[in-house]
Symmetry: D2
Subunit: 475 residues, 4 copies
């Protein structure tokens, strides 16, 4: 699946933190740069010089927002940073992160990856108590809860606040001289911890560590709160234990293939998905081609397992992503062509297996199949390296509403007809989870099953699969 | 090899033309967008509304220079466009193309891919006759020769002018209502011709046709002049015939893999190079990894031929290319890391074959090998899908001076030691050309052999191979 | 005195509001444009479409921040706007106004001209109650007090909030469908009310009304709260009455000469100051020249009264104010010359009376006198159309600290020697206030006398004049 | 008359040169900054480091185009610079100056103020000889004539070239190590020479010298060529002598009042025009108000002579000139109001004399009079400090075509009725020239009389006044 594609998923954020390094702002800049794929709409860094905070937050890409001058203004040896993707209509500067405020105990900055399911409720309660809100993001709720808490110090207040929220959060919080890294008890979203020259670093993905030359130590655990302060690094587990519910989509699509996520190599898992997919439903074909870039490893795995030659039959234009003028004329399949171009010589007269990571609305897949057919393919067999996406995510991924999810509204044969391919197969949930061995139960697969590990307020408890998943949770 | 890398080659340009289409400017914009990889420093479009020319030329990327408003100002159904890469110090707006001027017969715009070897001489002669120069590009010489010609009409003047220049040129010339597409008699640089809705289109690479939905008809032939005018399309061969000397580097590195160049599929040729490379010098190894993106097809060919598994062991950051702040701190191998990241899990403990397309100075290759070794590779075997680059190009590719070319100054064993790999093999000239069958002799391989098909003025005639190549022409 | 001069005063803001006009955003834009002189660092407009708020706030000039596209996004028939000047170090986007937030009763936007003396105290109290602060501006305190108030509706909450603050405020507050205009009981800063096509408009100065073609109706009175809502326009006086303390500096320097402020013509008052100044201390001279632009009317009044010819002997460069590169070389008096140039032909050999509105640090005045002397003046007599500035302002004007005020540290003869002029005279407080007839006592002249109408928390009650002024209030 | 007003005149340029100063680029920057009023559309500086030229040319204001970085790139101790105003449709970068080229003798840069009357002819002849043109400006003709000249050196070639052109030119030409300053034999446009720290400087107006602290030495004389080279400063008079024809409009409107132009103080002349105007046609009135800024000195002169009090009754918004969004609603007299605001208190019930420098189309004057009347004036008497403008200028001032000049198409009583004022008087040509004493005959007044000192090619010799003026020329 192509990044940034209309009608596909978007992860909401990347977070990065560094404590105790003279080049904190620069490292945050690089870390965010390496994680640009997790959010392209806004970016921000807040540093602390141990006395006060310095912030630089803007709409746009990391390399466009931060100039050398700005990095130099971000003084201090502690920093947190954030990249954000947001849904249409709310892509405003006031919603950009980190959230940076002052309250009774001093300065506080927060970077958040994930989504709270009870944010609206909590916000309404806070407003009734006189709180004012500047943004429409759920992260501001956490900040208010900390400010309102009557607990004695920042750490206790943070625990107090987080006890009141439900959902997904991988958070970095920074005061003048402390940093807290915390993951929700289900561990929905990733958060890795590393070391660099004696400094402690945190990042959503380990590719950020690779760029800055930091060593990946371990993940912050689900429900764990890691506190870094002048006294050193301490770890707490202040929340009731819940069953792990790691986001499976990090492996399917979001994370960079060179990252370690939830302790596994993204590239390796993707290839394994491809191999399983080949076993699932073999087909006679001449070549296997991926939809770049996220489909590449799965297609390689598929090719290896099936013995059908792997070819890079669709070439991606690397300059896409910038502003682009739509032609006034109706050029056929233009929206896809600007990103992908098939190699005719390779495809002509061939039976082609196309491997993609997922289908959301189906409109783009349909255009891609058409493109390949126009390039002369004799047969097109679409293979998807995940199960049918039937349910929206409430834990930090920007999915369309259920009405727009093609798999929620059509059967697989119907989808195949709509897309116009000779065959269509998805990877089953079982085969997908099998790849993880014993840890197969540690994932959230709500987008495939509707089994939401943390229910939304007012969500019908009878929803298929929901009760089961909750009861399954090994508290 | 990575695009835009310091110390590697750069093609100087892409040209695009369209005659007789109501959306000429928009098509030129898209065509240039598809060929952005051939030049990122300046871009320009000149259109003709049959009465006068309209120009928009700027420093930067296609998608940054052309706004919707600007495209709308580019009225008319005829257009030529140009992307340019230039060497340091001459990256000035005045050198951006197309060159657009007025002379006695009216308006003239010219877009040029290639390099004239006798430009300095011709310029000096023209200045003695009172010509003034605004730029430091050789294209301006052609324009002056046309203006000075005493021939009766634009076509004759163009022939007259081109008879006086030597070297490489794939040119598009536009008056108020004519377009001329012409290639030098050796056919150094590519130039393809296509059709769209009855309009005639020209482009350096066919990937431009794919994006706009045009059909690729054929190449403009070496020494051919195609004239498109209200009377239709005519073809001439006004120049003395010479032996073909197509730039082999288009296949090795420059062209997009989805393009047809000199009538061949770039992707297919690259894979074939990889297969030959595997035959050339087999090695026992666990995985084959490419240096993305240009090394990918060769690595796939190598893997297929050798039976060693192909893996995407180096992941490229797609946001690179934008302005970037260098960290003040010395991060190890930073310059390479910002673009490439090895997947440790994949490489650890393995014997790795690394496939790249060429080595210029050797500094980047050295860093890449070091990166792979740090990721835990047990052995690193570097395979280059072209012969050693020993000589600068004078026909339109921006190569460093001979002193900087590592293969001109070190033996292969010395290079291997410098790079720090267990083995190093280049593809031989013979095997490389064998891939093209009967057409193997139709290529310029001067950068490997020093056998320059068109000598520079004052070039020592005794230079190895030079005499031979001259006597060979014209067939 | 020149606008924007280093080391002189700066007013903190202009506010503008319009209720019930289909072109609300456009009128706000024009009103702020007309009041650009009151604040050049940030500008913002918030509109209400009766359901929700739309905001556009940025750092820079009105004409640079608002594009046509942005104005179109500011939907609705209600708008408030703000221009701001801020002191160094706090010139940040987060401090730009209007402040726009959400709280329990809905959306709220506030634009504030003035300065609260007990903001720090109030803020500290609010933080203890769990409020979080995003900015360092006192306006945010008002917003929090409204959000925290337990009163039943927005109007009562606003009264409740303002009862808790002291100091200077001319405020515009906007909810989804109400606008409140309110001035502090002393009426420190101006606020005018007008009419346009049935809509109600508010502005700091009437020049904003002139540009949009609105009719000036009257000032919002000190301590008055004007509420505009779907029910119409209502007026309240909810605060204890205090004696009027209008800022005299609006007449001396800040306001545009074409504005009516506190019911008087700024131009007329300035000319009257000049006439009084001529009576105060006559001198034999050949010409009277103003320091443009603010010194012009006073110089004209001086010339009329004294009979000495008025000449525009100093010419102002109208392009100043934009970014400017300082020459590396030391050009004499450069800082002043870039703004002002004397007409030598006019000044040579003359006895010159120079009229300026005030002296702050004295450094600029010294350069101007030197410039005039170098142009050949035989004698230079400086006349200042206000009393010596000896005390900082705490009510919304950005004055330097007392240590930097030359008149707080030197006697008039010492200042004259420092400036290098033949004579120096200030307008006395008595003569200045005489110009206003019966209303002479209605002004705050704390910057000349130290008699602060509203004491700062912890301010020494023995401070000369302070007790007196307090006992005088409320009338 | 307001600067930049629609439908009024525009001077085409300012030129600045410095030879032999280590801070040449910086001085050029400052000089152009001081002369920004002479051209706001493009600006450029070319420097010479004695070996080669360095250029920086852009569309926009001096302070916006030149950054510190750019100034630093402009190496060398010799520089010429240029500000340009251009007519609509030709406001393109390719027409910006200085013109910088290479030809047989090396590098050449030219900055030109004025207009050649035989440029089209010369261009056509040059194109026939094979010259190519990049721009549509007449300055390029001069450059081509120099390049084509067969004379032995640069100086002789320049004389050769200028012998072939007719019209108005104040030129600065720069080679690697020479600078030539030259004025056409009629001396249409100004050009002053000065000294700074041993360096020679040239500027259109002396206000440029004032800012950089240079001393004004004298004007370059009509027909004089001043050559500055390593050998020193030399002067030649290579052209046939013609009668002086200085542009009278420099005094009426263009030049800054603090400049010396043609050896006279602009401010002083303007005041004298005002005094003559008062004598010409006295009227009973209460106040005299200028149309700022250019009408101020004349209004002061008028007030002094008539004894009627001078008042600044129209206040100018100093932020005008930047981009501005027109309100979608029709605000009455908006176009004028955004620039000028009358002071009602001053004007109400008064008989007002309004002094402006000239009337072009009459549309703006009409709006201003209406504005003053709406402010409550009892009578409005318009006084123009120049004769009726009846003819376009061909010597470097951008005037509308004769059909648009109100005075070419209506009688004075008709104009008065159109404008809606109680009376209208122009200054007569005789009284205007009387101000200059013996030098009254040294001016070009073609815009008032149609007596063109240098006829256009093909201009009807019977044109009223033309023959007379030519015969009058004291060669």
């Amino acid at each position: 699946m192509m990044q940034n594609e209309e009608g596909k998923f978007h992860d909401q954020c990347a977070v990065f933190g560094v404590y105790g390094h003279p080049e904190a702002a620069n490292l945050a800049y690089l870390g965010l740069y390496a994680m640009q794929h997790r959010g392209q709409e806004s970016t921000g860094i807040v540093t602390s010089d141990r006395a006060s905070h310095h912030a630089e937050i803007g709409m746009g890409l990391v390399a466009d927002i931060f100039s050398k001058d700005k990095i130099e203004l971000l003084r201090g040896d502690v920093a947190i940073g954030h990249n954000r993707y947001s849904t249409t209509g709310e892509s405003l500067l006031k919603n950009a992160q980190p959230v940076a405020i002052n309250y009774s105990l001093g300065a506080l900055a927060v970077a958040h990856n994930g989504n709270l399911v009870n944010a609206a409720e909590a916000r309404s309660r806070l407003e009734d108590l006189g709180s004012i809100f500047r943004s429409s993001i759920d992260t501001e709720v956490i900040v208010h809860l900390i400010a309102k808490s009557t607990a004695g110090n920042f750490i206790s207040r943070t625990v107090d606040a987080l006890m009141q929220v439900q959902g997904a959060y991988s958070l970095l919080l920074m005061t003048e001289d402390e940093m807290v890294a915390v993951r929700d008890p289900n561990g929905f979203r990733p958060l890795a911890m590393g070391k660099l020259d004696g400094a402690t670093v945190f990042a959503s993905e380990t590719c950020a560590f690779d760029l800055i030359g930091a060593e990946y130590v371990r993940d912050v655990n689900p429900g764990e709160m890691v506190v870094v302060s002048p006294e050193g690094v301490r770890s707490f587990y202040p929340f009731p234990k819940r069953r792990p519910a790691h986001c499976i989509f990090e492996f399917i699509y979001f994370a960079r293939p060179d990252s370690m996520v939830f302790g596994e190599s993204v590239y390796g898992i993707r290839k394994a998905f491809g191999r399983e997919l080949a076993r699932e439903n073999p087909v006679k074909a001449d070549i296997v081609i991926p939809v770049p870039d996220s489909g590449v490893p799965a297609a390689m795995g598929y090719a290896e397992e099936s013995g059908i030659p792997f070819e890079m039959g669709l070439i991606r234009n690397h300059y896409v992503g910038r502003t682009f003028i739509e032609p006034s004329q109706q050029i056929r399949h233009f929206g896809v062509k600007i990103k992908l171009n098939p190699i005719k010589k390779l495809i002509e007269g061939k039976r082609v297996v196309v491997v993609d990571d997922s289908i959301v609305r189906g409109t783009t897949s349909r255009k891609i199949i058409n493109l390949i057919r126009q390039a002369g393919a004799r047969e097109v067999h679409l293979r998807i390296s995940s199960p049918p996406t039937t349910n929206p995510c409430y834990y930090g991924i920007d999915t369309p509403r259920q009405e727009e999810l093609i798999a929620a509204n059509k059967s697989v044969p119907e989808i195949q007809r709509y897309l116009g391919c000779e065959s269509l197969t998805y990877l089953t949930n079982e085969r997908m989870l099998k790849v993880f061995g014993d840890h197969g139960a540690d994932f959230c697969t709500a987008c495939f099953s509707g089994a939401y590990p943390v229910p939304l307020p007012g969500m019908d408890i009878q929803q298929p699969g929901l009760f089961e998943s909750l009861s399954a949770a090994p508290r």
